[in-house]
């Protein structure tokens, strides 16, 4: 059969985000796939070398459009570690609740993308609506809907407003009451199951060899979660489980995402119950005169896509010397995607890519 080279994205309907793949196809089968990132390269890591420690916050949260909160957290963690700042316990709880809300919002956004791509538009609209309810909470807490800059070196910018706890509980109950509807229309829907089961299959050896993290790894039965391995925030203060699946295909990955959302809701309720009083902020020096001692550090946290790391070097001045983000989509989108797409059909490219949870801005930075 005739062999063709096919450009998939960035304007293709099945492509979500600024990313393209060059496919070598024979008929409907893909022989070879080449990922082309770089449509959204803004050079943030270089720009950050020109800005002071605090000025960098508006940049870090724009690295990943879908979940800016984990980016703030990782940057704040690195600054705190280099400067030796302690975070009050109440701030740790607030951070953890805030990050879990962000995880649910990000997963709902991912659900929107997935359902939208498969043509199940009703689910997509529901997910977007429920994400909006969480954005309303963020708006009340931080004053912004998407880029909040709420986590700060030394704590969080302000305490919960009065009555906020009840609002979180009410919102999460209203989202949680829709889980059976989501199950009926999407997760247990035969149409969806037939599209996603046995697609983009990966076993544990392949995932570990290619540096997969997050859902991609947990869908193969491995309990790899930074929140458990290297607890930060208040994740070690409450009991919770790491959801896993065994099959390693697209369906398992999306089911892990569903279980994670439910687990996050339970975790937020437990954290709200145990929340201590006290300060939410440790005073840091004047940001214009803040020199951080020389040194380097690697910190990591679990974003909604997997292990998010930050390697940061300080040379003792008021600006970082070098910043390098280890984003989960990097290995998922560049190494694993190229491997998984081999021998799949063209119709499943978008399906596989979204089930791997690839977000292009995170790759390009």
């Amino acid at each position: 059969m005739r062999k063709l080279e096919l450009y998939f994205g960035p304007q293709h309907l099945g492509m979500v985000g600024n990313f393209s793949i060059t496919l070598n196809v024979e008929g409907d089968r893909i022989i070879k796939a080449k990922a082309n990132p770089g449509y959204l390269h803004r050079g943030f890591e270089k720009l950050m070398e020109y800005r002071t420690w605090i000025q960098n916050f508006p940049l870090v949260c724009r690295i990943n459009v879908v979940e800016p909160d984990h980016m703030e957290m990782i940057y704040a963690m690195a600054v705190e570690k280099l400067a030796g700042i302690e975070v009050p316990e109440r701030a740790q709880y607030i951070r953890t609740i805030y990050l879990e809300l962000a995880r649910i919002a990000s997963h709902l956004f991912g659900l929107w993308a997935y359902a939208n791509m498969l043509g199940l538009d009703t689910v997509a609209q529901w997910a977007m609506y429920h994400r909006d309810l969480i954005l309303d909470l963020f708006e009340e807490l931080t004053g912004a809907r998407v880029y909040h800059i709420y986590i700060w070196p030394g704590g969080v910018r302000r305490d919960f407003p009065p009555g906020f706890k009840e609002k979180i509980i009410k919102t999460l109950h209203s989202i949680g009451s829709c889980v059976p509807d989501y199950n009926d229309i999407f997760f247990h829907n035969k149409l969806f199951y037939q599209r996603a089961a046995d697609i983009g299959k990966l076993n544990r050896e392949q995932v570990t060899a290619m540096g997969g993290v997050g859902q991609v790894m947990r869908a193969t039965g491995m309990k790899y979660d930074i929140r458990k391995i290297e607890p930060y925030g208040a994740y070690d203060k409450v009991e919770w489980n790491v959801p896993v699946r065994e099959n390693g295909d697209a369906y398992s990955r999306i089911m892990v995402v569903r279980d994670e959302m439910i687990e996050s809701v339970h975790m937020i309720f437990k954290l709200l119950d145990k929340m201590p009083g006290g300060k939410t902020y440790t005073r840091t020096p004047n940001p214009f005169k803040w020199n951080i001692p020389a040194g380097e550090t690697y910190v990591r946290c679990e974003s909604s896509r997997g292990e998010l790391g930050l390697y940061m070097v300080s040379d003792g001045k008021d600006k970082p010397y070098r910043v390098h983000f280890r984003t989960p989509s990097y290995s998922h989108g560049l190494t694993i995607l190229e491997k998984v797409l081999q021998n799949e059909s063209i119709a499943d490219v978008g399906n596989i890519m979204i089930s791997l949870y690839v977000v292009a801005p995170e790759i390009d930075r």
């Binding site: 770089g38 540096g211 790899y224 607890p231 690697y298």
Partner: protein, 173 residues
């Protein structure tokens, strides 16, 4: 675990300097030709996850520093609520005038895009890498853009004649 590994590494390799921090993070400084050996040793000891390959431009010392960050995958049930770090940061310095180092993709497959990125942004050559093609950038630059002697403002001025806002602000002073 890290302390026994430290002794083994010190007995196996010369020109190596190991530092274990308070929270159990291990920092290894090694010579350029030893990294393949150290990485395969660490991999055989369970450090199978290469989290990141990074590069730092130490322009005053005329060196590039390559950084490899490794961590282990946990057993089936990880030891929960352990506050210790389990990372290894392996660093090696290479000459800035002759930026060449051997590629590690035969040991860690996911190093491929990282090395491509460093080749593009820092101009370092990775011997044995099959695909050192551009990854992010649209055009080519005389100085690779992430080196410290690449001044972004100077570049913008040369290409676009002015820097919006900043030029106006400085003229009004």
């Amino acid at each position: 675990m890290n302390h026994s590994m430290k002794n083994q590494l010190l007995s196996l390799f010369t020109e190596i300097q190991i530092d274990i921090k308070k929270d159990n993070e291990m920092i290894i400084n090694a010579a350029k030709n030893a990294i393949i050996g150290i990485l395969s040793f660490c991999k055989s000891k369970g450090y199978e996850h290469l989290a990141l390959v990074s590069c730092v431009d130490w322009i005053e010392q005329k060196k590039f520093e390559l950084v490899y960050i490794l961590s282990p995958y946990p057993e089936q049930e990880p030891e929960f609520s352990k506050k210790e770090k389990t990372n290894i940061i392996l660093k090696t310095r290479i000459d800035r005038e002759q930026p060449e180092i051997v590629s590690v993709i035969n040991i860690f497959k996911n190093a491929e895009p990282y090395e491509r990125e460093i080749h593009e942004l820092f101009g370092i050559n990775f011997n044995g890498h099959p695909r050192l093609t551009p990854l992010f950038l649209e055009r080519t630059y005389k100085i690779p853009p992430f080196r410290k002697n690449f001044d972004t403002r100077e570049y913008v001025k040369k290409v676009f004649d002015e820097i919006p806002f900043i030029d106006k602000k400085e003229a009004s002073k």
